[in-house]
Symmetry: C2
Subunit: 337 residues, 2 copies
Amino acid sequence: MSRPRKRATVHDIAAAAGVSRGTVSRVLNGGYVSTEARAAIEAAILEVGYVPNNAARTLKMRRSQAVAFVALEPHSLFLDDPNIGSIMLGANAALSLADHQMVSLVVESARDTERVARYLSGGFVDGAIVVSARTRDPIIKVISDLALPAAFVGHPPELSESIPFVGIDNVDSARTITARLAASGRRRIGMIAAALDRDSGIDRLTGFRTALGTAYDSALVADVPHYDYGSGVKGMRLLLEREPELDGVFAASDAIAAGALEVLREAGRSVPGDVGVVGFDDSTWAVRCQPQLSTVHQPAKELGSFAAQLVLRQLQGEQVQTGGQLLPTPIVWRDSA
Amino acid sequence: MSRPRKRATVHDIAAAAGVSRGTVSRVLNGGYVSTEARAAIEAAILEVGYVPNNAARTLKMRRSQAVAFVALEPHSLFLDDPNIGSIMLGANAALSLADHQMVSLVVESARDTERVARYLSGGFVDGAIVVSARTRDPIIKVISDLALPAAFVGHPPELSESIPFVGIDNVDSARTITARLAASGRRRIGMIAAALDRDSGIDRLTGFRTALGTAYDSALVADVPHYDYGSGVKGMRLLLEREPELDGVFAASDAIAAGALEVLREAGRSVPGDVGVVGFDDSTWAVRCQPQLSTVHQPAKELGSFAAQLVLRQLQGEQVQTGGQLLPTPIVWRDSA
DNA sequence: TCCTACTGTGTGCACGTTCACACATCCGTA
DNA sequence: TACGGATGTGTGAACGTGCACACAGTAGGA
């Protein structure tokens, strides 16, 4: 095994400056130090190339100044959902301001789950932000057992009591944009519903149904597994087959909407002329599409920074309200409907 | 400040099981232990809910079993370059197999740079994988000064001596695909060159120039800052303005190519009929476009896992060849040229 | 009987840090 | 002169872990 080159410690500084460890510590952390001693120590620090050992500091202080960002299901997230990037950046910015380090952990397999659990337990982080947890993810139990200060992005229902979360109101957002689509004169409106094994998927469908009321027709709902482009293609084909007279589509995500647009183009339908299409997320997809998507803006960056705040406040001993917070989701009306 | 609930230590286990700390340690790490003692200790571990303190272990062992994944320029990377996600997943998978934890650190601002430098120095990680370093990024100096086992994805020229890297041959890949575009009968071929402050950007331009030889015309190179969609739109407009007779375009990335396609569509040019377009990356953009892009496949996942291997091998004391390794980049010929 | 090898257990120390405490000096004031 | 406070410094202990070492008991062979 390669032994890393010997690193300088406070002892080395003390020896070089001709003082004791305590005085060095006082220079580093504040306290009464004479100007001569301070100067000598500062010179010695540069001379020996000292960098503090965080592992030792963490051990003593029981604080690592680091917060984990746990990304579950990274495959679909990183590759199809640009939101995750914005959430990360938002969280990083907020933690950065509080002088905390964000370390993000990727959980892909069961093996990862176990290792991440060890990592979270091991005192390397003071808290955790968890994104995209499914209802029975084992990581949730680990965090709960450890009583690790944490926050969820999204809404894991069975834990709303013990761990705070931040999210959006999927039901109401879906209801609002569907209603607006209907108000624009569309008569036969379908939905490409996705991820019905998650709250977000179920809630968006519920909102759609609520908006249409008696006009709701379950035959006009195509049920696809994921929020991605390919699912959009599949879903749109299904809908067109079932109802050629369709003149409106609510897609459960922008990526799905993009796939739907492609199928509509192939089928020779004009958008928004023949068919109005609306999406969900206001991700980078929305402005890449032709025409640009009318969609629900999801405040990804704010979700990340809010979750970070929730963790930081717990670290300061504040009792945060459990039950969580829903951020507003303005509708962005562009050209696709 | 909230004091985390008191955690059980080896001492607590020892007390509960009626043995000494040493015996507990032997159960955890291997050694001669009687079956009764082992049973008692295992029961005690469950009883007190012991989780080992990694900070203490790291301090003692000088090994954290964690490797940093440092993402520089995350804005553009996360939001426009899907490659970064694949690189991360590849690295994570390789580290996971070796039972190492990947922690990814996001550097957005100067403030972040300093904090990440502290983190890397602090003994929390045994090594680092650095993605998308610019030539004079301060992080490079930190790693170099620390003599931290590291690997770069991409090619920072001034450090090729001391730190291994893995990348692709941008010059040759660009040359090859440009040559193929030319061979398909195009006479006036332009390029949308991007990120000329990075090696990758410069190299792709060099490859383009080499392929065209005497047919190269610097007026047909549009120089845009980033690898993103917006830059593609801007670059294509510029090219069309300068040379309306253009019949071929090499875009420095797929996102740029996507932007270019959009402008060509607006301008009423058919692709690949009037203009042949080729991209670079073979990212998710490539198959989303209409028509789908002919492009250079970048083995993102393999880059990540190879970089991880480079770090792991250094951790095992192996002397890895500096200078680095270039992975193959097959050309994927689809419909856009 | 003694020596050696093997199994099993306990103790002390070190990793590098911070903090509480003890001590020392100087000054102003009772 | 004596005292208290402010300023400055050194020492010892502790955070939780793993390992080297010492030691105890048993069994087998010379």
